[in-house]
């Protein structure tokens, strides 16, 4: 078929959290119009037809918004395209005869569950530690009662676009979750509705982040480079200011 390309895949296979994993080689014929995950579908169908176990990988919306996909492709979380999740990566960026190495996101706080699937529940617990506005249903005032400067609202939006995929953690040599956490702290902290709880939020979320075993930030910037939503590292600087302020202000 026109547009077909022959590939060698080296995929991380690991039966369970405690099992020993290793890279396995597979041959697959992909088409340039396929997405990366559709290429994996083809490989999986091939494996199933040979009565072998397919590769477990997480995926859902395949539109780059749910944040499920979590694989490192040739050393880069979500692969080579900037601002692109693995599900939105298309095979037209690969050449016939290429070898592609596919591994799970790796970080102390993201243990491997099976093959390419990892446990990212630590992110949920960081949000539970303060990543919200404490407003019960029905308490809200009219939506237009607090005007918000358009630029400020856009800035908050940029931070709010985080999809919680964890690429920032996987990209960081220290396995730090600073970009993820700071994006939430900034999203809410920039808006008047979220500012009220700013102090307790930043303290709670940073403490939980440390507790989960995420590493320290050493300003490498790999998180920003690999973030599929191109969330800026400025968020980290902003959170650091907010955190310092919160700690100085406390008794």
């Amino acid at each position: 078929m026109s547009g077909d390309i022959n590939l060698t895949l080296k995929v991380w296979r690991q039966a369970g959290p405690k099992a020993k994993g290793k890279l396995e080689s597979y041959k697959v014929v992909a088409n340039e119009h396929m997405s990366f995950l559709e290429m994996l579908d083809v490989l999986n169908e091939q494996l199933i037809s040979e009565k072998q176990e397919p590769i477990t990988f997480e995926h859902d919306c395949r539109e780059g918004i749910c944040g499920s996909c979590s694989m490192v492709i040739n050393g880069q979380p979500h692969g080579p395209q900037t601002g692109t999740t693995a599900c939105q990566l298309h095979m037209r960026h690969y050449k016939d005869g290429e070898t592609i190495v596919v591994e799970p996101f790796r970080a102390t706080a993201f243990p491997v569950l099976k093959d390419l699937s990892v446990d990212r529940s630590a992110f949920d617990r960081v949000i539970q530690a303060g990543g919200y506005v404490s407003v019960n249903t029905g308490q809200a005032v009219d939506g237009n009662s607090i005007p918000i400067e358009k630029d400020l609202s856009l800035k908050a939006f940029d931070s709010a676009t985080c999809i919680g995929c964890g690429a920032c953690v996987a990209a960081c040599p220290n396995g730090s979750a600073m970009l993820f956490t700071s994006a939430k702290v900034s999203h809410l902290g920039l808006l008047p509705q979220g500012k009220v709880e700013g102090v307790s939020r930043v303290k709670g979320m940073v403490a939980q982040m440390d507790k989960e075993g995420f590493g320290m930030c050493s300003n490498i910037g790999a998180c920003e480079a690999e973030c599929p939503k191109e969330i800026s590292i400025d968020n980290i600087a902003r959170m650091n200011r907010e955190y310092t302020g919160a700690m100085l202000g406390s008794e």
């Binding site: 009565k51 395949r62 999809i163």
Partner: protein
């Protein structure tokens, strides 16, 4: 079985909800502490319901098959959420939103439910803003709106092309807050595989831990399903890969009714299918029809040249283009409702005027909008008439729809700023769902159903930006009250134990079913069966249906189902992380649902909304309803022998006159 909609008698349409709310039985705070509620699903409806009921003091157990509540498919909604705020001063009102929704649904929904939806729509926006949802704003700092299909006002609130994501994150954060206080206990990676009834009432569920494979029982005073739509029965749809009907279908197998399953929405603006390997289709938000003009070449020769790659859309001069929506529906133009726009695209492609190699695509063109915006921008910047309007306008277009254009380019490999977009209809949403009454309670006492999973508010066709509205209305502002109508009689009921024989029996049945599936050990993959089912559904129960086709389609599904149980192959075992086993159980349920959809479509001898029967159309090709015989909700009871039983709920229209829906 007599279906009682339980619409409150008291008051006029405008007063019903207010009066009902102020008189309904409540559960006192000290009693709420003793009552357990199970919520299945964490999309907009489930997350908002679990969070709000947690805030009220109920003990909530919430379940999701995802690794985190934030992954639910509501996240992918792009365009926006409607609310009758009338911030634009363009004549909007609660009544107008109500009327548009009833009309848009082709007069097949309940007046009282829809009016309530329109009433609470305004509170949703306030709640979301308070949670920190970054809706689009004007330079003055106030909320901005845009327009969607089937309406003549701007009432859609939006957050770029990521409205669903931002609203879901708001609900997820509210839920997270309740999880942190312990009021909600969250079970991620748990899939509901059965409903447990005790003395006829829903009292729990059986789940499978998707990591360990462990089958577990969970008991509560009542069960709330918010498990989304069943569009994936078509295999190719805009739904996420994991979307499925199983939670709802398991409830149907325990006696709940499936209402109007044939009402499926085919969305007109999706990226066309490119090949056999395709796993899903991607939507291009309806908001694009605010500025994009839909067209095909007037001459079949031009279309053929485009199909063969000899010409592009840019080579077709203005006079040879057919802006068929503007021509056929001048009053609404490119913003006709989805069902109308989809059928019109099909007609154009059936005439041989499609513009992709497969002939299954039409153009969505932004050139005129770019020039219009460019002129305005040049004027405001005092650039004079020498300015490059198109380029200036493209900047405005990029600010409005940038992420959608980017997504289009990533998938199609074509630059939509340069060439007109190619789009084609695809399955997107299901208006049908589990039958519920005004309280959102199913015919099984204690079992409630919210959001896309129920059938309640959209009739035969949903208007754009109304799914988010309904999901959040149900979860934030309806179920927290109406659940009290059931629970106020349960305050003396002690907590249930999962040691009861009903749970053991349900667990046993689940285990037997899974072990039966995995021991078939045939030769064909689950995926291959799902694809074949999808093709049958699209061919015989898709955009256009006929009695003959539906009869044939039903037979084909039954044959496919028999083959599935003989020849499916599921690798691995039941007591491990096994994605193929998960899929197999879901596809098995789709294979039953698909049959009921065919049966329902065959029963409905009329065309309405998303249900278009070839036998029932006007000479101009428009849908023809039969109000005399079909103004009812068709609620189906599953029967193993194939004689599924139809229960009718007659729809009464006391406030709106049934008219032929016209957008001309």
């Amino acid at each position: 079985m007599k279906l009682n909609s339980n619409i409150p008698e008291a008051g006029s349409l405008e007063e019903k909800w207010t009066k009902y709310k102020s008189k309904m039985n409540l559960v006192a705070p000290n009693n709420k502490r003793r009552i357990d509620v199970i919520v299945v699903g964490t999309g907009l409806a489930g997350a908002s319901a679990a969070a709000t009921m947690g805030e009220l003091g109920y003990n909530v157990k919430c379940f999701s098959f995802h690794d985190s509540p934030r992954r639910a498919h509501s996240i992918a909604a792009q365009g926006g959420i409607n609310a009758a705020k009338n911030y634009q001063n363009d004549g909007d009102s609660v009544y107008r939103l109500f009327y548009d929704t009833i009309k848009g649904g082709d007069y097949r929904s309940r007046e009282a439910n829809v009016h309530r939806l329109a009433e609470v729509s305004v509170d949703i926006i306030d709640q979301c803003v308070a949670q920190g949802v970054p809706f689009a704003r004007e330079y003055g700092g106030l909320l901005e709106n845009r327009s969607f299909g089937g309406v003549q006002v701007s009432r859609t609130f939006y957050a770029r092309g990521q409205t669903g994501q931002q609203l879901l994150i708001g609900a997820y954060q509210a839920l997270s807050r309740q999880i942190s206080t312990g009021q909600v206990e969250m079970y991620n990676r748990h899939e509901m595989l059965d409903l447990v009834k005790i003395d006829g009432k829903a009292r729990g569920i059986v789940t499978r831990n998707l990591i360990s494979g462990k089958i577990e029982s969970h008991a509560a005073h009542c069960v709330v399903l918010a498990t989304g739509g069943y569009g994936n029965v078509f295999y190719l749809s805009t739904n996420a890969m994991g979307c499925n009907v199983s939670a709802g279908w398991r409830a149907v197998r325990r006696g709940a009714l499936m209402a109007n399953p044939c009402y499926t929405q085919i969305h007109p603006t999706c990226i066309p299918v490119s090949g056999e390997y395709q796993s899903k289709l991607t939507l291009m938000s309806e908001s694009l029809r605010n500025d994009g003009r839909v067209w095909v070449p007037k001459k079949v020769e031009d279309a053929q040249a485009i199909q063969q790659g000899k010409k592009t859309g840019l080579d077709i001069p203005e006079e040879d283009r057919d802006y068929y929506l503007e021509r056929r529906y001048p009053a609404f133009g490119n913003l006709v409702p989805r069902d109308v726009a989809s059928r019109a695209a099909k007609v154009a492609c059936d005439e041989g005027k499609g513009v992709s190699p497969t002939g299954l695509a039409v153009y969505l063109d932004f050139t005129d909008a770019a020039i219009r915006y460019g002129k305005a921008k040049a004027h405001s910047m005092n650039l004079g008439s020498s300015a490059d309007y198109k380029k200036l306008g493209q900047e405005v277009i990029a600010a409005k729809y940038g992420n959608l254009f980017q997504m289009y380019e990533k998938i199609s490999g074509e630059n939509p700023y340069e060439f007109p977009m190619k789009i084609f209809p695809a399955v997107h949403y299901t208006m049908g769902g589990i039958w519920v009454d005004y309280n959102l309670q199913t015919n099984v006492p204690g079992l409630f159903c919210l959001g896309e999973a129920n059938f309640s508010d959209h009739g035969a066709n949903r208007l754009g930006a109304s799914a988010l509205m309904q999901g959040l209305a149900d979860g934030y502002f309806v179920i927290p009250y109406t659940i009290g109508t059931f629970l106020s009689d349960e305050i003396r009921t002690p907590q249930f134990s999962t040691d009861l024989p009903e749970f053991a029996a349900a667990e046993k049945a689940v285990k037997e079913r899974l072990s039966m599936l995995i021991n078939i050990k045939g030769d064909q993959s689950v995926e291959s069966f799902h694809r074949r089912l999808g093709k049958i559904m699209w061919e015989y129960c898709g955009m256009s249906r006929s009695a003959e086709g539906l009869t044939k389609g039903r037979d084909l599904i039954r044959e496919l189902r028999a083959e599935f149980y003989k020849d499916v192959f599921i690798p691995g075992s039941v007591d491990e992380y096994n994605t193929e086993l998960e899929k197999a159980a879901r596809v098995a349920d789709f294979l039953e649902l698909g049959e009921v959809m065919m049966v329902d479509a065959l029963d409905r001898n009329e065309s309405c909304g998303g249900h278009f029967r070839e036998e029932f159309r006007s000479p101009e090709g428009e849908a023809m309803r039969d109000d005399e015989n079909y103004t009812y909700v068709a609620a189906w009871e599953w029967a193993d022998d194939g004689n599924h039983v139809l229960h009718k709920e007659e729809l009464e229209f006391k406030n709106v006159e049934l008219k032929t829906r016209s957008y001309k």
